[in-house]
Amino acid sequence: MAVMTARRAPLGPILIRQTWAEFLKLWRVPAFSLTSIFLPIMFYAFIGIGSSSQVISPHVTFGAYFLASMAVYSVANVMIFSFGISVATERGQKMDLLMRATPMPPVVYLLSKCITAIFFAAITLAVLFPFAYIAGGVRLDASEWVTLAYRVLLGSIPFIALGFAIGYLSGPNSAVAVINLIYLPTAFASGLFFPKQLLPKFIQSIAPYLPLHFYGQLGWDAIGAPTDESVTTDWLYLVGYGVAFFLIALWAYRREEGRKFT
């Protein structure tokens, strides 16, 4: 009789290998890694630095305000793109098929993508923050830097679910276009690039309900800028959006499973 020792591979090493592979898959695609890391500091250089010392409300400079905007923009960008495009590409190239036939637990697949995305998001912040400090002369209290970082990372979770949903709902070639069509306009509408007051009236009327709006408010509040509603309200809305996006993603995932694997 065959001697059966361990019947399955231990989860820890699988998770480490899978996460490393997911990281390399994103890192080696410059269209993703370079744009997610350098686009935010480029925007900051073009828009933020020029009037960074201008005081826009008591104790808040435009430099700090725009740093919060770009932190929110870049982290949400990483979350939506890394998930949306990698999931759509893997479906398109039928990578999911071979993975499905291996003993890799599906939860590892999901976790490894989340860890990779959060890690990438942390890299973008690790580049953006020093850049704002040195080039933009932004000075914040230590607690403000920390609050900004953790709020931006924690608040990005709903966008992971959104990226997942887009990855399962769009094709490998259309994912980038779909994401840009959704993400860029809502980033503008939420006031991440210029004040909402400059937007057309009807966009101003829907803007306060966009997920990026609440996410942005969390960032601006962290550096001491006045916001429309309380931080608690922002979190509650984000949790609500997170649950909604997650349910859409789950539905899209199940739909795909039903089509491919029954």
């Binding site: 361990a6 019947r7 399955r8 591979a9 699988i14 290998r17 080696r28 098929l97 003993p103 029954t262």
Partner: protein, 296 residues
Amino acid sequence: MPAAAELIEATKKYGDTEALKGVTLTIELGEVVAMLGPNGAGKTTSISLLLGLRKPTSGKALLFGLNPDHLDARSRVGVMLQESGIPTVLKVSEIVDLFRSYYPKPMARDRAIAMAGLEEKTNAQVKELSGGQKQRLYFALAVCGDPDVLFLDEPTVGMDVEGRRSFIERIAEFAQLGRTVVLTTHYLEEADQLAKRVVVIDRGLVIADASPQEIKSRVAGKRVRFKTSALADKDLEGLPITTSTITDHSVQLLTNQPEAVLKELFRRGVEISELEVSGADLEDAFISLTTHTPTA
């Protein structure tokens, strides 16, 4: 001990199409089995059911007596699928290491890469590989977990003759470790070279399940070839042949009774030259099995 893989009265419908119409098949540990059949016969569907990639519409599929979804079962299985992709920016060594981590007792990375003959490409990214090299990488990924059972769905598809020959040797090398190998194929000489058991599937049913020798002896054991200046359809009427191929003046017949066939042809006064009688290879046997629905 449960069988390595088992289908019990398994059927599979895709919409209105019945891909499998009730297949019962037991594959024991250590067997090397080839599944033969034309396109759309149900070979890939059978493998998909055994791997848990698809669920049977009725009946059962089991891996080591377990549901094929079960990770304990999957941990003992290596797979090469017909249509599947792998991340193009990962290096060969990286993706082999990744797949090794999925299994409880993987083989050393270098050994898996050597079994696939990819030593020189260890540090190349997947996108730099040729079609044949990619196919060999899939083989490395299938064996790197040192599985008890290896499923190969048309492993040599798209390879040239030389590539196929060396690939078959690699599969044979793995089978010699005493492992179970289940492969589907179009290239019938592969089945003949590798397998001790051939399962012929046609239109969703198993129509033959025997050793390559038995299949050859059971159906269309001999091939009769000759040239003739004139051959009418009625000249072949009522002869004990399974198939006939006539091109210009060359005639090829598959039969179990070459003597009776020739005697009758001579009696009917058919002019015969360059007569040749030889044992049919598996390909011939296969053609006669699948073109005639009632089994001999």
